[in-house]
């Protein structure tokens, strides 16, 4: 017998036949098909009990109540807290994506110290003792006024602890980032007396006259405004939107009135003029409670006749009259201002003029009106005990605003400020003419950032004490935006264990104060921030921790405040866009887009993905131009163009948009971050680089809403 080809054939056939009647082939086919559906490297979330924990979102000033869904203790999803007075179950896209901030690529993982141009990790103890050493030497030299703080918040226990630290150290240089709320506060105290705050009950208003306020672009408490806007449409409450561009709010309004930017105050005063002349204002309120009403109406007679206003604003005369009638004859009319999200300080004249309309309507301290309330303080701090050094330092004059401090630093060869604390703020990105701001920052010898993220300002700091995100910390979050009528305070709670070696900002300042010893330390008797918060909110703590929020003011005050027209009659000046009209014939204005996060926070990867490709395409930013303006500049849709302003230039793409007035260029705010985050950074241009600050003289705040610009094809 010989083993030949046929034997092998037999062997092969035998194997095939054996396999065919064995389960191997069938089982392997099934298994391999299953394998392709269950890639072993695909992460699978843990299963477990589902629980919910209430907290507050502090990504913006909306103070929305949130409910965090957890599975087996892991935070899975952020939802809106039902029955919360601010958002009643609703939540915005930034809040929903809030968990992404926990694992953001720019999160700072441990305290950092700058060594040359690079950061190196250090321990919390070393970082604190390094800061204490610097501050002690400043204090020993009795130059305590040479330290400053820029904070994103003005109220709440954390901001108050920092203020307290600065006071007992001996510096009056605590500044907060200005916004429309700063201007509303000034308006309230100038027109109704000191310590008053002002807020709008839009939910119950009968007519809303909005001077550019982006009700669905993130103004006030965004979710509350979305709901108000939706409910308004159902109830038939009219919204008239006055702004130079057809924003989403304008598109959803009952009427959009395009206006030359910067002339909003003129229009408001023109409306006041008609209302007074025709005596269709609330005579009982005005005649009883007013100061300088006559001077005010005299000023209107002189400068704000309908004809003059029509010419200034570019709005038709009959429309102005109709608008005045509509407002005066409506039940509970409310006039609001604060462009877009209201992230920048407002034009004092515009705000005062808009509020004069509310006063004329007599819709003050009423349901569906403007609430003028005394500020409620729910925090019970023990009185500060200052030593001599502190008392002297604290008595030294302060700068009118952080903007003026920074300008001062920019102009001096040596910075008058020796140390700067940066708390929940990113001035090197958010402030106008940010390149200049960066130059000034570099002159400050010692900068301490308390940021959670390596943002543009943290990058320039000398020491970073990284903070917990809002999902990892305790903090009281007061709702003090003028956009929210009811004043609440919510409790932000740690819902996950800290992901990195970070601490609560409250604990950081307690540690610094204790390290400084002496009187400074004595003023901070609390062991840690959690205990401090409990003792400061002693009266409301149980309700606060139980429910997650406490309503401080649920209705307007019974008494009506007097309306002081002297403030506006004394000749406030409108903020104008800087730049010579000959070389820069157009005007660049900033656009707030709900999908792009504002302020110091950069958008989450989820949020940035939702931005239209008419705003960003790839890494290019698109600017809105009216086709008429584009034609003159010989620009077509999608063309690359260069925008030049007196302070900078940028390459952009053109998006032709009929909804923007001719002569304007509209650019989105919140893009062009230069941080180490591949999802959001280097997309588009930071518009703040292109706009020069314009100081509003009565407040000293930068209230620039745009700048003269030119555009040319690249």
């Amino acid at each position: 017998m010989k083993v030949d080809r046929r034997s092998f054939l037999g062997l092969g056939l035998g194997a095939v036949a054996g396999a065919a009647v064995s389960p191997v082939a069938m089982k392997l086919t099934d298994d391999s098909s299953i394998w392709t559906q269950n890639w072993p490297w695909t992460p699978v979330p843990h299963d477990g009990e589902v629980t919910f924990e209430n907290s507050v979102c502090s990504l913006c000033k909306g103070s929305c109540g949130i409910s965090i869904r957890k599975v087996a203790g892991r935070a899975i999803k952020i939802e809106g807290q039902t029955d919360h007075p601010n958002n009643n179950g609703g939540i915005c896209l930034h809040g929903i994506a809030g968990l992404q901030y926990l694992y953001d690529p720019t999160r700072i993982k441990s305290p950092l110290k700058k060594n040359g141009k690079k950061f190196e990790e250090i321990s919390w103890e070393d970082a604190i003792s390094h800061i204490a050493e610097k501050l002690t030497s400043i204090r020993d030299e009795k130059k305590t006024e040479n330290i400053a703080c820029i904070s994103g918040n003005e109220t709440g226990s954390v901001a108050e602890l920092y203020k307290r630290f600065f006071k007992v150290f001996g510096s009056n240089n605590f500044y907060s980032v200005p916004s429309m709320d700063t201007t509303w506060k000034t308006t309230a105290s100038e027109m109704h007396g000191k310590n008053n705050s002002l807020s709008f009950d839009l939910e119950n208003a009968g007519f809303i006259l909005s001077f550019g306020a982006g009700l669905i672009e993130g103004w006030g408490s965004p979710v509350q405004c979305f709901k108000t806007n939706a409910a308004r449409q159902k109830k038939g409450v009219k919204l008239f939107q006055i702004e130079p561009r057809l924003s989403n709010t304008a598109a959803g309004a009952d009427k959009w009135i395009p206006i030359k930017p910067g002339t909003e105050a003129d229009l408001a005063l023109g409306l006041c003029h008609i209302i007074i002349k025709e005596e269709i204002y609330d005579i009982s309120y005005i005649s009883k409670y007013n100061y300088d009403f006559k001077a005010f109406s005299k000023m209107l007679d002189k400068d704000y006749t309908p004809e003059k206003v029509a010419e200034k604003t570019g709005i038709d005369l009959t429309l102005i009259k109709q608008l005045a009638h509509k407002f005066a004859w409506a039940d509970n009319p409310v006039a609001i201002a604060g462009k877009g999200r209201g992230d920048i300080a407002g034009d004092a004249k515009e705000f005062a003029a808009v509020h004069a309309l509310n006063c004329l309507a007599g819709n003050i301290n009423k349901k569906g009106g403007v609430w003028v309330n005394r500020k409620k303080n729910y925090l019970k701090f023990p009185l500060e005990n200052l030593d001599n050094t502190a008392r002297k330092g604290f008595a030294k004059p302060r700068y009118t605003s952080f903007q003026s401090l920074i300008s001062q630093i920019g102009e001096s060869s040596e910075s008058p400020i020796q140390a700067l604390f940066i708390l929940n703020a990113n001035p090197c990105y958010t402030m106008h003419d940010s390149d200049k701001i960066i130059e000034a920052f570099e002159k400050i010898p010692f900068k301490v950032s308390f940021s959670s993220f390596m943002d543009e300002t943290a990058q320039l700091s000398d020491i970073i004490l990284p903070s917990h995100t809002f999902l990892e910390r305790y903090e009281d979050i007061p709702s003090d935006s003028a956009g929210i009528a009811r004043k609440t305070v919510g409790l932000c709670k740690p819902v996950v264990n800290p992901v990195f070696n970070t601490k609560n900002q409250g604990d950081a300042i307690l540690m610094i104060a204790k390290a400084l010893k002496g009187k400074v330390a004595d003023n901070f008797p609390w062991d840690n921030y959690e205990k401090c918060l409990k003792s400061l909110t002693k009266n409301i703590w149980s309700a606060l921790s139980d429910k997650g929020y406490v309503v401080l003011t649920s209705k307007p005050s019974y008494s009506k405040p007097s309306a002081e027209f002297s403030y506006i009659a004394n000749g406030l000046k409108s903020v104008e866009a800087q730049g010579d009209k000959k070389s820069f014939p157009l005007t660049l204005i900033s656009i707030d887009n709900m999908r792009i996060a504002g302020g110091e926070i950069s958008s989450s990867p989820f949020a940035i993905k939702t931005v239209s490709d008419k705003v960003i395409k790839g890494t290019d930013i698109l600017v809105e131009i009216n086709p008429e303006t584009a034609k003159k500049a010989r620009l077509a849709q999608g063309n690359k163009a260069k925008i030049t302003t007196p302070v900078g230039s940028a390459t952009v793409r053109v998006n032709l948009f009929e909804g923007i007035m001719p002569g304007l260029i509209g650019m989105a705010q919140g893009l062009g971050h230069t941080i180490d985050n591949k999802f959001v950074a280097d997309k588009g241009v930071n518009i703040n680089k292109l706009i020069a600050p314009v100081i509003e003289p009565s407040s000293g705040q930068d209230a620039a809403w745009g700048i003269a610009a030119s555009i040319s094809k690249v």
């Binding site: 034997s7 035998g14 036949a17 054996g18 396999a19 064995s22 392997l28 099934d30 394998w35 559906q37």
Partner: protein
């Protein structure tokens, strides 16, 4: 006869003479290969396909059910209708904290390695379905009034944990396909693949259901 013709002739002759034995060897090889592959497919293949893993320690279901009375003392539906599955350490501690522990080796392991270290016991779950499947216990227990045994068999009466067998390719528990390598089932709980769900649904509800009901 040319050279070529000779060759052809000798070749034909050769075939004629050795033809039978060649075929016989081929048949033999065929049979050997058939038997080897067939038997391997039946006997060796399952051993290669599944890895065997022992549970962290033995769990006596019979003992526990006799103490607690029913399955749902430990495997219960939560208030929101979700199923708690295998109880966590805290649930075990509810009884075991107050009662003194017994003296078996398994209880010693439980105490020393898990209770003392507050570590969850990494049980292998025989009936674990893949993550792409949504399964509601509430719908089956409460909605359809099914008993545990219909799907899980008489595991409640077992005194010892059998080794957990995991399919090396899919990562599934062997119980999903069933012990029988051909997938032949005798009892309703022998196999729990998609077709088994569909079959029961078809019988009980008249429809095997839509994809998205389970694959959400």
């Amino acid at each position: 006869m040319s050279e070529k013709e000779k060759k052809t002739e000798s070749c034909t002759e050769g075939e004629k003479t050795e033809g039978d034995s060649g075929l016989g060897l081929g048949v033999l090889f065929f049979l050997i290969a058939f038997v080897v592959v067939f038997l391997s497919g039946w006997l060796l293949f399952p051993k290669l396909l599944y890895s065997k893993k022992e549970q962290p320690f033995n769990f006596n279901h019979a003992l526990h059910t006799s103490e607690t009375g029913s399955c749902d003392t430990c495997h219960y539906l939560r208030e929101d209708g979700s199923f708690n599955g295998i109880p966590d350490l805290a649930s075990c501690m509810e009884c075991h904290e107050e009662e003194p522990m017994g003296d078996t080796e398994d209880e010693r392991i439980f105490c020393e390695e898990y209770v003392a270290n507050e570590k969850e016991v990494p049980w292998f779950v025989y009936s674990k379905q893949p993550d792409c499947v949504f399964f509601s216990h509430a719908a089956h227990i409460q909605g359809a009034g099914m008993d545990c045994e219909s799907c899980h068999g008489y595991i409640g009466e077992s005194e010892e944990c059998r080794p957990y067998e995991e399919n090396r390719i899919t990562g599934y528990s062997r119980d999903i396909w069933g012990k029988n390598i051909w997938g032949i089932k005798k009892h309703s709980w022998d196999r729990m693949k998609m077709d088994d769900c569909a079959k029961c649904h078809k019988e009980e509800t008249g429809s095997q259901g839509a994809c998205f009901q389970c694959h959400k």
